[in-house]
Amino acid sequence: MKPYLRDFVPTSYDDIPKATAYEAGYLVTKNAGWRNARPVLDETKCIGCLNCYLYCPDGVIFREDSKIGIDYDFCKGCGICSKICKLKAIKMEAEK
């Protein structure tokens, strides 16, 4: 199962589990705020080789219609995808 964002954030005494055991893959915060630059795909150049998807440390690049999509909620903007792409299909653009 892929971890995903949940609405409910357990914070009070009654919310917390009895033991240090909780549902796997329970996300309550995004990582988008870490980013200084965002990867932007040029679809005309992408051939869907999936190297960017393979080498992304955060797993935020996924297959989409024979090309790729990027989950900007969790991309930290490290730039590995842009560097690994032989066709230069991903550009890092500064976040405003």
């Binding site: 357990p10 005494y13 917390i16 009895k18 033991a19 240090t20 055991a21 909780y22 549902e23 796997a24």
Partner: protein, 390 residues
């Protein structure tokens, strides 16, 4: 039920076999070795169906038991002294993780100087680690405790690891006639371990996580409530045990001739047998003396102590333990119980039996003699060393 001539270690191993642990991980150390040897024989001869893991250290022994518990298996380990201290990192880990592992500890002195004989400084140094701590006084109680410990530890309201302590050599290596219950009786007593606190392929979980300043106290408070709940579950387990096996234990403490006693000696473990004899002898001479044995140090029997000694003129604690720079830790705890109950009774502390030093009847009689002076002192038994903190 069958009568067998067993040492404390062997009796405990028989009790563990009756509890059918699924994983046993242990590292040998004197005077605990016989427990793990016996259990590995049981696994070999097929009378116990468990995974026996030979780990490379005590730290690994408890770490492995936690791994087994983290997938919902019943786990057992055993250690002593240096081994207990070596696994110390894992003790609060198991308690905080609410893994109801049972561990037998053969009470033994800790180095330096090296010494393999019995005192209780090893387990008492770990009182704050979040484990239930029980102290057996004979081989029968050791066996019964082995079986009951799983019931108590695994109860959903408790979910706390359990350390069952046996005095090294004096209890672990002394033979007695012991009633060994049948597997059917044991199965009727002890339900299968069931928990949500586990990794589950159908329902994956993340375990043993970090909890920051905002929620950490909540987890720790829950942990505290869990071990306090043992108070009630120990009684439940003993009631259930009595129905099936016909032996009724008395909860966190056991008192002997204390009802009308003016002077009460508080102790724990196998020493209580000797104190009991002295009480009988002194009673014959007309002294109103009694014995209060602490069967559990965690949860601590605050109320039982206060209720038992409330009419006494003075009490003394006899313990194989010293918190250097202060006093015996059992004494500190007993005084706290008296203070909370607003009892103003003189109390003394006798540190004895360190490194297996023999405690004689005469020395126990001297304690009762000195109790009549109704002082509050801390003494090293047998060497006349008096040590009043300040």
């Amino acid at each position: 039920m069958a009568k067998k001539f067993l040492s404390g270690n062997e009796a405990f191993a028989y009790g563990v076999r009756l509890a059918r642990p699924q994983v046993i991980s242990a590292y040998p150390i004197t005077p605990q070795t016989i427990v793990v040897e016996k259990l590995s024989e049981f696994v070999e001869d097929g009378s116990l169906n468990a995974e026996f893991i030979h780990v490379e250290s005590e730290h690994s022994a408890l770490s492995c038991a936690m791994g087994a518990s983290s997938v919902g298996a019943r786990a057992f380990t055993a250690t002593s002294s240096q081994g207990l201290l070596y696994m110390a990192e894992c003790l609060p880990y198991a308690a905080g993780g609410r893994f109801p592992i049972v561990m037998m500890n053969a009470n033994r002195s800790t180095a330096l100087p090296w010494n393999i004989y019995g005192d209780q400084r090893d387990s008492i140094s770990q009182l704050d680690s979040g484990w239930i701590q029980a102290y057996a006084c004979n081989a029968q109680e050791a066996l019964d405790l082995a079986l009951m410990s799983f019931y108590i530890a695994e109860h959903k309201d408790v979910s706390t690891p359990f350390m069952a302590n046996l005095d090294g050599f004096v209890l672990t290596h002394t033979y007695e006639v012991v009633d060994v219950p049948t597997a059917e009786q044991a199965d009727a007593f002890l339900p299968k371990y069931q928990t949500d606190n586990k990794m589950d392929l159908q329902k994956p979980r993340n375990l043993a996580f970090s909890a920051g300043p905002d929620t950490n106290t909540y987890f720790k408070y829950r942990e505290h409530l869990g071990i306090l709940n043992a108070y009630k579950i120990i009684d439940e387990a003993e009631e259930r045990f009595a129905k099936i096996f016909g032996r009724r234990y008395t909860g966190l403490t056991e008192s002997y001739r204390t009802e009308d006693a003016d002077y009460i000696l508080i102790t724990l473990g196998s020493l209580s047998g000797l104190v009991r004899e002295v009480v009988d002898e002194l009673r014959k001479e007309g002294s109103r003396v009694g014995l209060l044995r602490l069967r559990y140090l965690r949860p601590f029997p605050n109320e039982e102590i206060a209720a038992t000694v409330k009419n006494a003129k003075a009490v003394a604690v006899l313990e194989k333990d010293i918190s250097f720079g202060n006093e015996g830790t059992v004494y500190t705890n007993v005084n706290s119980a008296l203070q909370k109950a607003k009892l103003r009774i003189p109390s003394s502390d006798y540190i004895g039996g360190l490194g297996g030093r023999n405690i004689s009847k005469e020395e126990i009689k001297i304690i009762f003699d000195e109790l009549e002076q109704q002082q509050s002192t801390v003494k090293f038994l047998g060497i006349g060393g008096e040590t009043n903190g300040n």
